[in-house]
Structures are given as structure tokens and as C-alpha cells.
């Protein structure tokens, strides 16, 4: 049985630069439950799940992030299979 907005999703997470060092990982598939009381999984839930992992406590609570190659706010509602990238402070140029 499925609903159009499942309360648990699996997303592809990408970590870069300092964040990859903190977590000791550059990419992982993460099963993310919605926050307590919410019917939808947001990018903030991915950040919360990562912050609960070893090393993740040093991730900022509100990092820059991208969903499917585009910068998005933390409140973005995710869909199954989305690619969520946590972006440390940009330093190109």
C-alpha cells in the first residue's frame, strides 16, 4: 500500500569537501523518515539524519544544499530517489 506522499523516503545523499571529511563518506543512500508530526520528508530531515551519524554533529544545522542539481531551501519537500547534496561554503573562482 502506498500514499502519494510517503512519510519515509530513500534519497541519494552527496557530501563534499569538509562535510565529506566530517562524515567520512562522499555518497550514501539514506532512508529518511519525516519529522515527528509531519506527513512529508524535507531536506531538513536529511540534515537531521546526517547530524545523528558519527561525525555528523559538526555539520551546521542549516547547511547550503542542492536537490537534483539545484540550490533549494531546507524546507524543500523531497520525493523518492531525489539527489540531496550538502554544500560546504562555496570557494570557487
Amino acid at each position: 500500500m502506498t500514499t502519494s506522499i510517503p512519510a519515509v523516503l530513500t534519497v541519494r545523499v552527496l557530501l563534499f569537501a569538509r562535510y565529506a571529511e566530517l562524515l567520512g563518506c562522499e555518497r550514501l543512500d539514506l532512508r529518511v523518515p519525516a519529522a515527528r508530526g509531519a506527513g512529508r520528508v524535507t531536506a531538513a530531515d536529511v540534515v537531521a539524519a546526517l547530524r545523528a551519524r558519527p561525525g555528523g554533529e559538526r555539520l551546521p544545522a542549516r547547511p547550503l544544499l542542492a536537490v537534483n542539481l539545484r540550490q533549494q531551501p531546507l524546507e524543500t519537500v523531497l520525493a523518492e530517489g531525489d539527489e540531496v547534496a550538502l554544500l560546504p561554503p562555496l570557494a570557487g573562482g
Binding site: R18, L69, A85, L90, A91, G92
Partner: protein, 145 residues
């Protein structure tokens, strides 16, 4: 042509970028080259390494170029180096050609600011004292702790 490159942005690469924007009705080309400096935030830098979220960085670079070409009557080329770089090597090149110099300068200047602001690229610096740090333009110290 991809905007990210592992190959040096040397005189030949610059000539290719210039040729990509030059046209008989464009009388001015403004260029910006960002080079690896030998110091940062008071520390002596030996070399550095750029990494990127490459698929997104390509998309964002293309968006910046398209937006610049929409804001000004200019043709823009942009290249950003990835991987290990030595002091003095070119990290980024922006080239903007227009009929007149005002638009060329304005587009060039805007593109380099947007590249710094929006493109997911990171820089790791290797210092003379043996330490290494991620550059963080938002941090007071200029690097991540």
C-alpha cells in the same frame, strides 16, 4: 564545451576562450583571470586543490553565462580549473565580448562575482607549515576550523 577542466588554463586555452566570443561586430573583450596566490589569510600557501559537485557546477556555470548574455549584449566564455594547482596557475577565466567596452566589463565583472557566489566548488589549501585547510569565505579566519 564544458566549463570545468582538469587541464591548465594556459595561453592556448585562453586563446580558445577568446576565439569563442570574438566576432566582427564585437569591439571589446574584457577578461578576468583568477590565479593561485602564494598566501591567504596570513599563511604561506604552497599549492591547492579544487574539487566540485561537477554536474551541478556545470549547470550553474551554464546558467550564469546565459544570464549574463541576457543582461548585457555580450558573448561570455567561462572556464574553471579543478584538481591540484600550483602557485601562479590560472584557476578561473571569464571572457566577455561586446560591441562596446561598457557591456564587456560589466558582464565580465558580474560573471566572476556570480561564479564565486553560486558554483559548487571547494578549495583546499596546503600551507608551508604542513597544515591543510578548506577555504571558507564566510568564516572570519578565511578557512574552516
Amino acid at each position: 564545451m564544458p566549463h570545468l577542466t582538469d587541464a591548465p588554463i594556459d595561453a592556448t586555452a585562453l586563446a580558445t576562450l577568446l576565439a569563442a566570443v570574438a566576432a566582427p561586430d564585437r569591439g571589446g573583450i574584457a577578461t578576468f583571470l583568477g590565479l593561485v596566490r602564494d598566501h591567504h589569510a596570513g599563511r604561506v600557501v604552497l599549492r591547492l586543490e579544487y574539487s566540485a559537485y561537477a554536474p551541478m557546477a556545470e549547470v550553474v556555470c551554464a546558467e550564469i553565462v546565459a544570464e549574463a548574455e541576457g543582461r548585457w549584449p555580450a558573448a561570455v566564455a567561462l572556464a574553471h580549473r579543478l584538481g591540484p594547482l600550483a602557485i601562479g596557475e590560472t584557476a578561473v577565466a571569464v571572457v566577455a565580448a561586446a560591441a562596446h567596452r561598457e557591456a564587456a566589463f560589466a558582464a565580465c565583472r558580474w560573471v566572476i562575482e556570480e561564479v564565486k557566489r553560486r558554483v559548487p566548488i571547494w578549495k583546499r589549501e596546503f600551507y608551508a607549515d604542513g597544515t591543510v585547510a578548506w577555504v571558507d569565505p564566510t568564516a572570519a579566519a578565511g578557512v574552516s576550523p
